[in-house]
């Protein structure tokens, strides 16, 4: 195991100074109120050279160096900055963890050779952080605690992978006991006992040490000398399916970025295929040269593997991002990564026998091969089977026909494609499919469910729909309007008492005179679940003198349920 620790000793001041040219050369310090006194908490290198140190009172620092630039400390911004830095480090390895408050821990096991070895990896990280304006120290060791201690307390920055336990002990021996990261009291007690270096502890028998300083001290010591395995908690789980490209010069042109994404989608495909899964959530990550990281996430309505479709979705998201605040390329992106965060099992579609993939995509075959969106009933009945078999014998033309039989079995990719594309931009909740429901109240008779979701399971009860009625040869069910208002609109009506249609009514300030009507159709609310104030409705479809058709209802039975039954327009034909 190889761990790389990055230590940013001047993160608070670097955060403020890293944008300004020569401001970094001038003494600068951050202060904070500690128990009512204003104390320096962070200084830059120039201030430190002038003997300004953290912990000093602001007044003393001013007296020492009157031109000292001061600013109040903001720990929250520092934490955010550290997170950004940690994210940036994920370009080197997906396993990057925060090492708050001033460091980042990377698990670079097996990743170093991608950057030309461990020494050059360290060098590259240091160089890039320096270019971004950070003062950074790095160290690489077999254990995270050792790497952390080396970066903070030592000039040694690599403990080689082949180092034996004695070498590791020797490297750790020189470190001060503060490297153990124990509580102040314990450290003070050790110092009083004359233990200054880790080597002092290593030279002593363990049992008295444990008795005097606690079990925890020994655990820390073992972690430091890599005797116990001490994993890190990465900031994000490493995605299992990931493709990335690196560029020595950053990409700035959108066309290049899109072309790269397309390639990445191509590279992702074999990874997904090997596991037999398709992506349900995709994330494209753009690492900018100056350290900013942009993410573009998108979900899909079904497991997806086809590079063209993946790319189309991402491009949609990119276009939307551009509209909102823009994908600011700055000096360019130097690492582009595409990962599938969530995957789902995806079985390959069955190809028709004897037909290669490129043939099935031939333009001539396309219009016949277009699959049914959602085929109802049995998609593959016996007669179709027989026919397709005969056709295969018959010749070239029949290939297409047999293929249409096969294509009908497949899930509707055309529909899913539209759903994905529209959903990526409008939001999946705005792309719906309608399913008939077992309900008599008109507004509940249809459910609009996001198309990305699976269809509700068909209930056992018989289907109430018109199509079903027509299939069964029943008498046609009462007519329904083509449009329904989300909220029925109240109207003033003059009706034939007690249960006739309105002779004339006023809707949206216009007077309509009824010349023809049909009804009433009485729909009672389901008594077993409705609240007490739900009334029976009498529906009429009414035609006015101009020929406009309305679907109106009266709520409540006059004299039985209520004293005055209001009228509503519920739909239009």
């Amino acid at each position: 195991m190889r761990f790389l620790s990055v230590f940013l000793p001047r993160l608070p001041t670097d955060r403020i100074l890293r944008r300004g040219g020569d401001a970094a050369e001038r003494p600068f310090a951050l202060w904070r109120k500690v128990k009512g006194a204003e104390r320096i908490v962070a200084v830059n290198a120039a201030a430190q050279r002038r003997k300004v140190f953290p912990g000093m009172a602001v007044a003393d620092a001013r007296a020492l160096y009157p031109a000292l630039a001061l600013e109040e400390n903001d720990p929250e911004s520092d934490a955010a900055m550290l997170e950004a830095v940690a994210d940036w480090h994920r370009r080197f390895t997906p396993l990057a963890a925060l090492d708050a408050p001033d460091g980042v821990m990377l698990d670079v096991t097996g990743a170093a050779q991608l950057f030309g070895g461990e020494a050059s990896l360290l060098e590259e990280i240091g160089r890039r952080l320096a270019a971004q304006g950070f003062c950074a120290r790095t160290a690489l060791a077999p254990g995270p605690a050792l790497a952390r201690a080396l970066a903070r307390f030592s000039d040694v920055n690599i403990v080689p992978a082949e180092a034996a336990q004695e070498d590791i002990d020797a490297a750790a021996a020189e470190l001060p006991i503060a490297a153990l990261g124990l509580a102040e009291g314990v450290l003070a007690a050790m110092a009083r006992a004359g233990l200054r270096r880790i080597g002092d502890l290593l030279a002593r028998p363990r049992a008295p040490l444990a008795a005097r300083f606690g079990e925890r001290a020994l655990t820390s010591l073992d972690a430091l000398t890599c005797r116990i395995r001490d994993p890190i908690t990465p900031r994000f789980e490493a995605p299992a399916f990931m493709a990335e490209r690196r560029f020595p010069d950053g990409l700035t042109q959108l066309a290049d970025i899109e072309a790269t994404l397309r390639r990445l989608a191509d590279e992702l495909r074999p990874l997904l295929e090997r596991e037999g899964v398709g992506a349900r959530e995709l994330e494209a990550v753009f690492y900018r040269v100056d350290g900013a990281v942009k993410r573009v996430r998108t979900g899909t309505s079904r497991p997806l593997r086809d590079p063209a479709r993946i790319f189309a979705l991402l491009r949609e998201r990119l276009a939307r991002l551009r509209e909102e605040d823009g994908l600011d390329a700055g000096f360019g992106f130097d690492v582009l990564r595409l990962c599938a965060d969530a995957v789902e099992r995806m079985d390959d579609e069955q190809n028709p026998l004897g037909l290669r993939e490129d043939e099935s995509a031939a333009p001539g075959a396309l219009d016949i091969a277009r699959p049914v969106w959602a085929s109802k009933g049995t998609p593959y009945d016996r007669s179709g089977d027989k026919k397709s078999h005969q056709n295969q014998i018959a010749g070239a033309h029949s290939y297409r026909k047999s293929q249409s039989t096969f294509a009908e079995c497949a899930l509707a990719p055309d529909l899913a494609d539209i759903v994905d594309r529209l959903g990526a931009r409008l939001g999946l909740r705005r792309v719906l499919r309608l399913y008939p429901q077992q309900a008599h109240l008109p507004e509940f008779a249809i459910a609009a469910i996001p198309a990305a979701y699976p269809a509700p399971s068909p209930s056992v009860a018989p289907d109430l729909s018109h199509a079903a009625a027509a299939r069964e040869g029943f008498a046609p069910t009462p007519s329904r309007p083509a449009r329904l208002f989300e909220r029925p609109e109240p109207i003033e009506a003059m009706a034939l008492a007690p249960d006739g249609p309105p002779l004339r009514f006023r809707w949206r300030r216009a007077l309509h005179e009824t010349v023809a009507f049909e009804g009433p159709e009485r729909i009672a609310p389901p008594w077993w679940r409705a609240p007490k104030n739900a009334f029976t409705r009498d529906y009429f479809s009414v035609v006015d003198r101009e020929g406009r058709r309305f679907w109106i209802y009266r709520e409540g039975l006059l004299g039985e349920e209520c004293a005055c039954a209001p009228w509503f327009v519920h739909g239009l034909f």
Partner: protein
């Protein structure tokens, strides 16, 4: 240069452009090839709405405008009937119905049971809700490109925002995908003559006055009739070259729609339901008893 020759030239150029588009950018051959490619089918001057649809079902853009704000419902019904027709031309395609929030507030949402009753298979329908006109236009273009058989969009777009370039994008997407796009413009009611866009067809739709006017009062019964079959009163306000001669842009005609066969019919005076003295619902004696 006479007026006639100018229009000849414009007609020639239009054909040429259409021929170019039909070949995806290849050089067109002018008048004769344009005709051969089926861009402008030479139609017999036969006065049938089916002819219009033939033109539209091979990938085109049509606009439907209500003649009066109160005719929005009728216009939406007609749009649905047209979508059904183009679906029938492509039995495996689907319908994408785009409904803008503002339009939904004005005329309600398409109701699944009602669409079903008109003959639309709900498993072939994707229903999309958009927040504003720009999203509507974008979604419509995408759906047309993705080869949906029919895309119906209801929009509250201002006539100024929906212009030549927007409609041209839609038209190109439709001709590439081969589906028919139907844009229901609810805001510019009755402005069918003034609107300028690249659409191939523009209908102005109004409700059809009831065919069977109330019969003389029956003794004891109400004087109200029964609603006849579904139908509309419409005029073809615009039809791009080829069809224009066949249709008088000022003539209103009445058509009816038969949901069972999904065809349009001329609404000639039809059979009126017989006076039903034996219908129990209307029989005064039973009703009071």
């Amino acid at each position: 240069m006479t007026r006639n020759s100018v229009s000849e030239r414009i007609l020639f150029l239009r054909r040429r452009i259409a021929a170019l588009e039909a070949r995806g950018g290849a050089a067109g051959g002018g008048d004769a090839t344009g005709r051969e490619a089926g861009v402008f089918p030479v139609l017999a001057p036969q006065d049938s709405p089916e002819l219009l649809l033939q033109n539209l079902s091979g990938g085109g853009l049509g606009e439907i405008l209500p003649a009066h704000p109160r005719d929005c419902g009728a216009a939406a019904g007609f749009a649905c009937a047209l979508a059904l027709r183009s679906c029938a031309a492509r039995p495996h395609g689907g319908v994408v119905w785009i409904s803008e929030d503002m339009a939904a507030r004005e005329i309600g949402l398409p109701y699944g049971r009602g669409l079903e009753a008109l003959g639309l298979d709900l498993s072939r329908l994707v229903f999309v809700r958009t927040r504003g006109p720009s999203e509507t236009l974008w979604a419509m273009e995408e759906a047309l490109k993705a080869r949906a058989a029919a895309v119906v969009a209801e929009s509250w777009i201002a006539p100024r925002a929906y212009g030549l370039s927007a409609s041209r994008r839609l038209l190109l997407a439709a001709s590439r995908g081969g589906g028919s796009g139907l844009l229901l413009l609810l805001r510019p009611c009755g402005e069918a003559g003034r609107l300028s866009s690249a659409a191939q067809l523009r209908f102005e739709v109004a409700a059809r006055p009831p065919l069977s006017l109330p019969a003389p009062a029956r003794p004891g019964a109400s004087s109200l009739g029964t609603p006849g079959p579904l139908g509309w009163r419409l005029r073809v306000a615009k039809a791009r070259a080829g069809l224009f001669g066949a249709f008088d842009p000022l003539a209103w005609r009445e058509i009816s729609f038969d949901p069972e066969k999904a065809v349009f019919r001329h609404a000639f005076p039809e059979r009126v339901p017989a006076e039903a003295a034996d219908r129990p619902d209307f029989a005064p004696g039973r009703r009071r008893g």
